[in-house]
């Protein structure tokens, strides 16, 4: 128990530092770009005076570290700021002359609250698909290393890895939705709209899992104690599940931690193409429109997610393999 406590405290502390660094970096990068956010909000028609006044009120003229600390203070209170662009009622408003229009903008927290569950749903379904594809193939390929199934898995993996995800999205939207009319996909009006985007993401993620799993299963199968287990009288089934898979799991778990980053990236593009109302779509729009608060909020969120997932992966790994030392 004490070990668990030290481990968690240490990793969480490191995690906080990482999150701080990341958010500061994004924060600064945004403000170093040419172009005035206040101008962006108010549009080209507003006068310079109004722009300047708004900027002062929004604290945009202060030195960047000071702004950062202010923002951080707000974050700790649960306030992630207000979008520059999106309005509460869901529409996007940019460039209204009226400085008061600011008050109608949607708080970032709300925007996130609306979109995060959607993305979670998408990501969860994508992971399910990815596992359904890669786990059986990876295990069977690993157990028959060198055989025809292994080669088939190799071809399949290479094919999946070579498919550009946005192209697949377009082709699937064209064929499955437009031509065959089997599954809807653009926008969101029900759970069915999650299927195609999730499938595209799953195709992107599976090759890495397939290969990593097949390599680690093949390697585990070669280990002395696995071959010996047969002689000792253990049943094949027991050997597979209790020994081979356990030992094969750790390298795969590590890959999983890294793949989460790729997952987030894939989500962005796929949501954009399918117009799926999740965090990804929000982010792409925010970046293209220079919506600072939203970008900052998303960056903060994803950094936290990254830290938490890696801690979880390490924790589960030590549970499985007692030799590991974190």
């Amino acid at each position: 128990m004490a070990f668990l406590a030290t481990f968690l405290i240490r990793r969480l502390a490191q995690g906080v530092i990482i999150v701080l660094i990341v958010s500061f970096a994004i924060f600064t990068a945004l403000r170093l770009v040419p172009g005035d956010p206040a101008r962006l909000i108010l549009g080209p028609m507003a006068s310079d005076a109004v722009v300047e006044k708004t900027a002062q009120e929004m604290g945009l003229r202060e030195p960047i570290p000071v702004q950062y600390v202010h923002w951080l203070g707000q974050v700790v209170h649960g306030n992630l700021g207000t979008s520059f662009i999106k309005a509460r009622n869901g529409s996007e408003v940019a460039g209204s002359r009226d400085a008061d229009a600011l008050g109608d903008k949607a708080p970032v927290m709300d925007l996130l609250a609306q979109t995060v569950p959607m993305t979670l749903q998408l990501a969860a379904l994508a992971l399910v698909f990815a596992f359904l594809i890669s786990v059986p193939i990876g295990i069977i390929a690993g157990l028959n290393a060198g055989g025809w199934f292994d080669r088939f898995a190799l071809y399949l993996g290479s094919a999946f890895v070579s498919i550009p995800n946005f192209w697949l999205a377009i082709v699937l939207a064209l064929v499955v939705t437009a031509e065959l009319q089997w599954i809807p996909s653009i926008g969101y009006q029900g759970f069915a709209y999650t299927i195609l985007p999730a499938f595209v993401i799953a195709i992107e993620m599976s090759p890495v899992f397939m290969r990593s799993l097949s390599i680690s299963v093949a390697s585990a199968k070669q280990r002395n104690f696995v071959q010996l287990a047969d002689v000792r009288g253990l049943s094949k089934r027991r050997i597979l599940f209790r020994h081979i898979l356990r030992n094969a799991a750790v390298p795969v778990l590590n890959i999983f931690g890294v793949q989460i980053g790729a997952l987030l990236g894939g989500v962005l593009i796929v949501e954009y193409i399918f117009n799926y109302p999740g965090v990804g779509l929000l982010t792409v729009q925010a970046v293209l429109q220079r919506d600072f608060p939203v970008i900052q909020g998303v960056a903060l969120l994803s950094a936290c997610l990254f830290v938490v997932i890696n801690i979880l992966v390490d924790l589960v790994s030590t549970k499985i393999d007692p030799r590991l030392d974190f």
């Binding site: 990482i18 999150v19 071809y155 070579s162 192209w167 377009i170 939207a173 962005l268 293209l288």
Partner: protein, 305 residues
């Protein structure tokens, strides 16, 4: 006692005496059909990308107004002088794909070289020295990993005009942490090995040890993964182009060609699909070649050839 995997098994050592590793690797690679298939694709497509544009007087920006929206050659209505068809401005899709491939290769290969070199140097230093140097370097690496690459890319490119150079840099920026991490962990392991200790005892300086001893052992497998990454970077570059922040038109990149074609998807679906298929086949070639080399390497290391 030597570990299970370290020593070649007695059963194969008789066969392997006399043949160098290089020749065995070549044999193991060449045996595989995947390798030949992949190589075929690559030679065909990359070769075409490098040679064909010189030979033809077709250009990616030349518009044939009377030949707009022609489907690919193998479909009814298509013609052989526009192999993949034409787009909404009558531009030949085949040559656009070839030029797009040229650009993609240029950018991806450069990006991979940069990220490999930077990542390897950082990884070697962190892995060799350990301690506080390692901790600092790794925290920086972690911090960068925590930033979703796409956000970073989009942010930077929205701001600075996306030129091939800045796109290359963004790609390199996205990739170096993985290389640093992997290099570091392999260096850590290699550092413990006897011959490194032997060199230290002789009085070798850290620089000599890192450059002469550790790198030649540690870097080749990583360099090889880097080659596979070229494919990954090409996809990434295409994605950036697709969103609109890659290399800008009129220079054709896969991203902007496919993005352009989106609005004509129902009627002229080939504008988006054909270049994508072209890209897919090239990447398939790279990946097939890459995985077959990797399998060959495993075969050789485990003594199965």
């Amino acid at each position: 006692m030597p570990s299970e995997a370290a020593l070649p098994s007695a059963a194969t050592s008789v066969k392997s005496r006399g043949e160098t590793t290089g020749r065995r690797m070549w044999r193991a690679t060449y045996q595989q059909f995947e390798f030949k298939l992949g190589l075929f694709f690559l030679i065909l497509l990359v070769g075409a990308a490098l040679i064909y544009p010189e030979l033809t007087n077709e250009s990616p920006t030349r518009m044939h107004i009377m030949q707009r929206f022609w489907p690919p050659a193998f479909l009814p209505g298509g013609h052989w002088n526009h192999l993949l068809g034409t787009d909404q401005l009558g531009r030949d899709l085949f040559i656009r794909s070839l030029i797009g491939l040229q650009n993609a290769l240029l950018i991806s290969v450069s990006a991979v070289i940069i990220m490999f070199v930077v990542g390897a140097i950082i990884g070697l230093i962190a892995g060799y020295y350990g301690g506080i140097v390692d901790t600092i370097l790794m925290r920086i690496t972690d911090a960068q990993l925590a930033v979703p690459v796409i956000i970073l890319a989009i942010t930077i490119l929205t701001v600075h005009r996306p030129t091939p150079e800045s796109v290359t840099l963004v790609l390199a920026l996205s990739g170096w942490p993985a290389y640093a991490r992997v290099t570091r962990s392999v260096t850590l392991a290699e550092r413990q090995r006897e011959y490194v200790r032997g060199a230290k005892i002789l009085g070798a300086t850290p620089l000599r040890i890192i450059v002469q001893m550790i790198s030649p052992n540690v870097l080749p497998p990583i360099a090889f993964v880097a080659v596979l990454d070229i494919a990954r970077m090409m996809i990434f570059e295409a994605i950036l182009g697709f969103i609109g922040i890659g290399v800008q038109p009129p220079t054709p990149t896969f991203g902007n060609i496919i993005a352009d074609g989106r609005q004509y998807l129902i009627n002229a679906w080939w504008i988006s699909t054909m270049p994508g298929a072209f890209l897919f086949t090239t990447l398939l070639g790279i990946n097939l070649v890459g995985s077959s080399i990797e399998r060959a390497r495993n075969k050789v290391l485990e003594g199965r050839i």
